[in-house]
Symmetry: C3
Subunit: 468 residues, 3 copies
């Protein structure tokens, strides 16, 4: 049996490793704060057993899907239903076998690291996963999933999660959150307000989603002014259900204030279904300004995730739908794009914007200098493709000297896979400990400072950053 090494991911230089392990030991058992992620709250509302290993660990993880797909494995063979309803592979064991046969693809990748933690530490799998052991490992996990301790709420408790924020559209009624709240379980699960379906006029279901939201709010939306009221109404509703933050996805973080008349005109075009891409872009730029205004007024922390070209592979989108691993980053410009927003709200003590990037070249050049100046701007952690050993290390090395750790907000796991939550936080805590140990070993900071900074990165900065 291969256990996970206790010093894993720490520097192999013994001087650094010893300090890193000391720092890690002081923070490894802190409760998990998960202020941004994509777990489906219904899982906790229903609290039913997970169906099987393939569904839980392969079919719903776009990191796994994209790597297998890149090596020529069809999503059909992984049991992903086509949009037309066809499912080509119903046998979950065969799906698992495909995954296991190609498990070496993930060696050295974050997905591989998280998966090893899940197999070894969450499910106590004693075998190393490979094509040969696939069946045994499947059986072992499958039997775990039938046991009470692996029910979602019990995993949540076992993982010592203090708070978990989900991501929710404005047209959702937050029924699952209400059910959780009404249950006898004390898990702290909060919705986050993600209004992209309404603020992005390019959403093909914009009218439908607007209609749904309007029904939930209980009033008609006939014009731009109603639309603004609708968004304010839903934010209030989300706050009543515990929300502490909003989240916004944009390809470019362009911000620009329109006059009411201009905004109104664009809104009217959208109602008529005649918006063009330029309309969509400038309306989003304007809505980011409006979202910032509302955040200043209602105190919800604003999160901006910029730079992903969603569904770059049209064939994959048309055949299997979204979130199949075909989102690709693009170059991002922040200094000019965020100027309007930061000049209007960035000096206001009641406002807080947390920015994430997929373009690492913006760390030293734009984001650290911006966060090191504007009181209203904080940097989110290394995101998505950058949420990796090297990615987190580069984030610290490139953004901390100018931005300072106190202009950051700790770690986000950003996951939709529950068993990966402790895996991701453990990795982050190890890498941050390792980074700080490097500073101590070079006498850049001393050990007392490192202990304080270590706790800040793992816990305190999440609390203050998200007003928890």
């Amino acid at each position: 049996m291969s256990h996970l090494n206790q010093f894993r991911f720490l520097d192999s230089n013994p001087v650094v490793r010893e300090i890193a392990f000391e720092l890690y030991s002081t923070i490894k058992d802190f409760p998990i704060l998960s202020p941004h992620g994509h777990v489906d709250p219904q899982i906790f509302a229903l609290n039913q057993p997970f169906s099987d290993p393939s569904q839980l660990l392969v079919m719903t993880d776009h990191y796994v899907l994209r790597m297998l797909y890149s090596q020529g494995i069809s999503l059909d063979d992984l049991g992903i239903p086509r949009l037309d309803g066809t499912v080509f592979q119903e046998d979950r064991r065969k799906i698992w076998q495909v995954f296991a046969d190609h498990y070496q693809l993930f060696a050295g990748t974050p997905t591989g690291i998280w998966m090893e933690y899940e197999l070894k530490n969450v499910f106590n799998v004693e075998l190393d996963l490979s094509g040969d052991t696939a069946t045994d490992v499947y059986d072992h996990i499958n039997s775990c999933l039938k046991r009470e301790e692996f029910l979602p709420r019990n995993l949540f408790d076992a993982f010592n999660i203090e708070v978990l924020c989900t991501t929710d559209a404005p047209h959702t009624a937050l029924t699952s959150h209400q059910q959780i709240h009404d249950s006898d379980w004390n898990g702290n699960i909060k919705p986050s307000f993600r209004p992209d379906s309404l603020t992005n006029l390019g959403n093909p279901n914009w009218l439908r989603d607007l209609e749904k939201t309007s029904q939930l709010a209980g009033f008609d939306v006939n014009n731009y002014s109603d639309f603004i009221k609708l968004l304010e109404n839903r934010r209030e509703y989300f706050k009543l259900h515990g929300a502490i933050a909003t989240d916004h996805d944009t390809r470019s973080p362009y911000t620009h204030k329109l006059s009411d008349q201009e905004a109104s005109n664009l809104f009217e075009k959208a109602l008529k279904g005649i918006s063009d891409p330029a309309d969509t872009q400038v309306f989003m730029a304007h809505m980011l300004m409006e979202m910032a205004r509302m955040s200043r007024d209602d105190g919800l922390v604003m999160q901006l995730h910029a730079g992903s070209w969603r569904n770059h592979n049209q064939m994959v989108l048309d055949t299997w739908g979204v979130d199949m691993g075909g989102d690709i980053p693009v170059q991002i410009e922040y200094t000019e794009n965020l100027k309007a927003l930061l000049n209007t709200y960035g000096n206001d003590p009641k406002f807080k914007l947390i920015v994430f990037t997929l373009d690492e070249s913006s760390y030293t050049r734009e984001l650290a200098p911006l966060a090191g100046h504007y009181p209203g701007l904080k940097l989110g952690p290394a995101w998505w493709f950058n949420d990796s050993i090297q990615g987190m290390t580069r984030y610290r090395e490139q953004a901390m000297e100018t931005g300072g750790i106190y202009n950051t907000v700790g770690f986000n796991d950003d996951t939709r896979t529950i068993p990966s939550i402790p895996a991701r936080h453990d990795l982050s805590r190890r890498i941050d400990s390792n980074y700080l140990a490097g500073l101590v070993s070079r006498h850049i900071i001393n050990i007392e400072q490192a202990i304080i900074m270590s706790k800040a990165l793992a816990y305190d900065l999440v609390k203050t950053g998200y007003n928890l």
Copy 2:
């Protein structure tokens, strides 16, 4: 005498170095696969002795020329003939003396590292090169070059080169390749199809090159349809002579499918000599689509080298011509530019595109995510200015976590200098071993995985990547 240290370029941390040396030892004697480079095949066809040390190691190496030029040394003093035919320095010993006098410029650079290998390991020079030893070193190498063991074919065999691909224009008859094939020597030297002279309407000799190619093909090219047939014809000819790949140089990797009518119109303008830069750009974008289509159909692997502003220094171009060290990289965008090509061919199991970049900021942001999704896309190794210790290390650190090593194609030496071939492969094998040793030492992968991955990077992935 100073020998090369056996542990050179490996991490000085003994934990990492020991593992790195173990990995390196398992791969250092693998045959060399050189699927992309610029060696002149005539050298092997004729198999004449190299003329002298300066011609071989200084005058034909644009890496050497650019560094000397940057320090104020005229290309005239290095014996580079002017385009008008004038040669200001005929004395090869004096050229070598200039090189030796400035040899310290190359300390710590890849050129210096390769050159040390060539001097010490290929030519067994016992002295350290400097202004003082220049004459002795020159004499030593010069006498080597007269010996049979230093004939090109013998070097090729001594270097244990399993296959070497050259780069060839469509209007070449591949006579040298045929001569090699017809000889009693078994060296495996393959042409690669590089049609830039025809696909780039900005080529000042476009009409001439088109005419030459047409003559070789044996039919007239009167319209766009003939032009496409011509390219298909020449690809077939190259395949018959052993080609396995094509290669394409573009400043921007823009891809865009034109209608036949649009393409035809641009072609007609080119025939009339009235193409403008915008025509050239969009025609190239279209031809990349056509080249991808042909690759899917005929199985030649498509290579795309993007991002070099060729001949940036107009005075140098006008005086001494191309390849004098004046090509400068520019920013490159892949996500949007490659979308048309990848959406059309990137999901097709019969198609393979290998992309190279001069813009390292694209590794994490664009190329690794693209290669980690599209089955038809693989990443070429760190290229040109990035083919260095730090450059190869950054390539691994920035692209492997997201792209995975199995979406890469091993190493390319990309050289035109034969003695540098083993030098470059040795450096690459050391740096990759060092990278993997770092992962092992931090328990990211284990040593068994590292041995497999090490072999993959040095050999297996080149074979599969280029369908060898």
Copy 3:
């Protein structure tokens, strides 16, 4: 009491640290060459005691101000006078207390590192600065400042500064420089010619500054031709006062030669106060060409600092003015933008341009290849936000393999805070020693080469780079 560790900032791997310390020991006592910075020459002309610790170390340091401001501390509370003259906090001890209360913000940042050196090594403070020790530390430094050894000229001498260049507008009479020259003190302080106020038509005080300059030159400026004469006249005046270099700040390093008629037209518009942003941009591009021409003719080394969006935070600008920490970098393109200038002057042995960047992604991609080719181009050191442990390390790792150290010009401290001068040079010398030690420890260079290169980086290259 906590002293600064003698091995601080060096690699903790003992193999590297020992070599690094050996290299550092050979250069640490070299005289300081400071060819680019922003110290006010009047400080040395008057040679009065510094007023107090807060004025010296907090209120005039935009690195300190921006970090405190980013954490919600008003510039009013730091005693920064508003543009309307209001000062909200006159008590320098209270300002110091605010700084000390937040001193942990600077842990791990270059500002923190420099400040520790200033406190411990310049002022011999025995206590660690914190909110608790603020008063004692203030008193200690304050008493120092009253002593003769802490007078500006004595600090200059004690710091072993061989030459210090200031930055001066064309409309300054260089009175302070003349006073220093006329005094019995031998400190070598040179002006640098920074004509942005005249070459940037967007300067709101352009007409006023033009008028002032014209008066100093003693002739009227009625047209573009006069304007060029004015600039030539002032450069000559600066040279007579010891200037060796010019300096230019641009958001984009765009260079473009206008015809005399075009330039004249833009100048006429400026005289009428009707220039628009496009005029400003193209006129600056043209003036960079003119400045290069003049540099070729008069031998002043041309420095180009590109990529800062000045005064990004309009509210801060309007309330407290410039240099408050609100300058933010933008993406920068060099290959295309510098082509006109480099093609015209970059091959000329009488011309030298030193380029600085705030966009690290340009190191490997553009700047190192350009500097590794054009004899007239040299790379300035890691600048501003990149003048940090990680930033200087990345600069070496990313630019030296392609550019070579001999196409760089050593270190610039770029400071306006006199006590930080030795702190910054010491840090630079440590990091460069550490970089070279890494190369030695991996057998990339040998120790003899490293000693030569170490001296070059700390001293020789500054002398040759700035023609000192």
